[in-house]
Symmetry: C2
Subunit: 277 residues, 2 copies
């Protein structure tokens, strides 16, 4: 692991690091905020997964998570959203696919299978680095994210319910196998057999018997992407599966970080209560 | 005034606006956060002046001011740091002069006098727009800023002590007429006669009899620019002038927005107590 930068902030340390990823076959950059409590004891780890077009830095700059993370003593890990580099297959004209749009899956199709393995990266490779390089209590992990990252957080938690104590999302893409901005990517990464898409789709996973005790979601009521995000489908699927979903429709809020940052402190407090409880 | 964008955030509205500035002879962009309280009553105005290389958006993205502004019911106005545009004289290779480096003064030298009038812009032209376009109580104004913007806040307040109820700064350039990163700009904007620089230099203004009841400053103790910022000179000048300076040296903090955002809420609370008192 290489240290790109560190700066003291809100009593803790905001760092940016990079390493060669074997899952993605490229150099990957990620951000970690270590709260002041980590000087004295291992701290819980809260994973934040970002949305389309983002890398590790968007939420680091605009997410306003450090004050709450320092208050609740949680480490915040912010991975990139895809592999990157000259050797990584990409379609630079499509913001919904390729670089910045890894959709937190393991691709099966060529030429993407070699690099696009964000599911393995976020669930296996990066946790090992966090465990070895930071004062982290890996028995206490939570996960959340925004938009495509909300999709990542929910699908990853549904498939690894024993790993994550707490799960939430901001405006998650709840049903990517039916939404116009994700169908093209799923087809390229996973092929035409739509039965294989189900393990990367929150509503399908809930239908197929995966489960979580509770999920917290904040959703802007004025979000331009409301139809594609499908909060109503998420609500119906959670009801059917018996998942306690708290879906806060936030009047007047859009899809941007102006929305995310507004509810960051309350989501972190929610995770903190469960991770420190 | 043209509206470029608005978004709900922390219960208020974060907007970006532009207009043709007569002071600067160019189109100017600025950001305004209007707290929820402005729906019911005129709110105090807190001016935030940004540092070298910044425009209106750096603090809007990274400053973490909206939660505290909404809590204390203050409007935050974030002007740009200089005139901009193809017709504006500039030296694009010098980050300490020209675009992004207006130093909150009125230039007297050609070719800069036509556009570089940020002092008049911030103290006269933009306040008229804020007064007419927003639900602002212009009898209650505070001013603060970072680095070059801290210099702007202190010098502007010292020359207009009746206008601003509260004054603070993050890592201000306290003595620009003696610091290597500002002397060149002062020379180009104001000419060689250094007696004219004194009205744009906090320490000189204090020496020359300008005064304020109190000033709050947060300064990173690990700031790479500590010598150029001259907090010790500020301390000495305030002591001599009888100004109650609270100078918080913040252990381990640098010059970045990771530092600024860490003490944003406490500075806004300080202004809020005075503006709402």
């Amino acid at each position: 692991m290489k240290t790109i930068s560190t700066a003291k902030s809100h009593g803790g340390i905001q760092g940016v690091y990079s390493h060669h990823s074997t899952a993605n076959n490229c150099e990957m950059t990620f951000a970690v905020f270590v709260p002041p409590q980590a000087a004295e004891r291992p701290c819980p780890v809260l994973w934040y997964l970002s949305g389309l077009t983002c890398n590790h830095s968007n939420v680091m700059d605009k997410g306003e998570y450090r004050a709450a993370a320092a208050e609740h003593g949680v480490i915040i890990v912010c991975p990139d959203t895809s592999p990157r580099g000259d050797d990584v297959a990409d379609d630079p004209d499509d913001w919904q696919f390729g670089t910045g749009a890894g959709f937190y899956l393991d691709a099966s199709e060529e030429p993407y299978a070699e690099n696009y393995n964000m599911y393995s990266y976020v669930t296996k490779e990066l946790p090992e680095i966090i465990a070895s390089e930071f004062n982290a209590d890996m028995s206490k992990q939570g996960i959340f994210g925004h938009s495509m990252g909300g999709h990542g957080a929910l699908t990853i938690a549904l498939k690894n319910p024993d790993r994550y104590t707490s799960v939430s999302a901001f405006a998650p893409i709840a049903e990517p196998s039916k939404a116009d901005w994700s169908v093209g990517a799923l087809e390229k990464y996973l092929g035409n057999d739509q039965s294989k898409w189900r393990e990367y789709d929150t509503c399908s996973l809930l239908e197929d018997g995966h489960n979580l005790p509770e999920i917290l979601v904040d959703q802007g009521a004025k979000d331009d992407h409301l139809v594609r995000l499908a909060p109503e489908a998420l609500k119906a699927a959670c009801e059917k599966a018996g998942v306690a979903l708290t879906l806060n429709m936030r009047e007047g809020y859009d899809h941007s970080y102006f929305f995310v940052s507004s509810f960051m402190a309350s989501q972190i407090a929610w995770h903190g209560a469960r991770l420190n409880g």
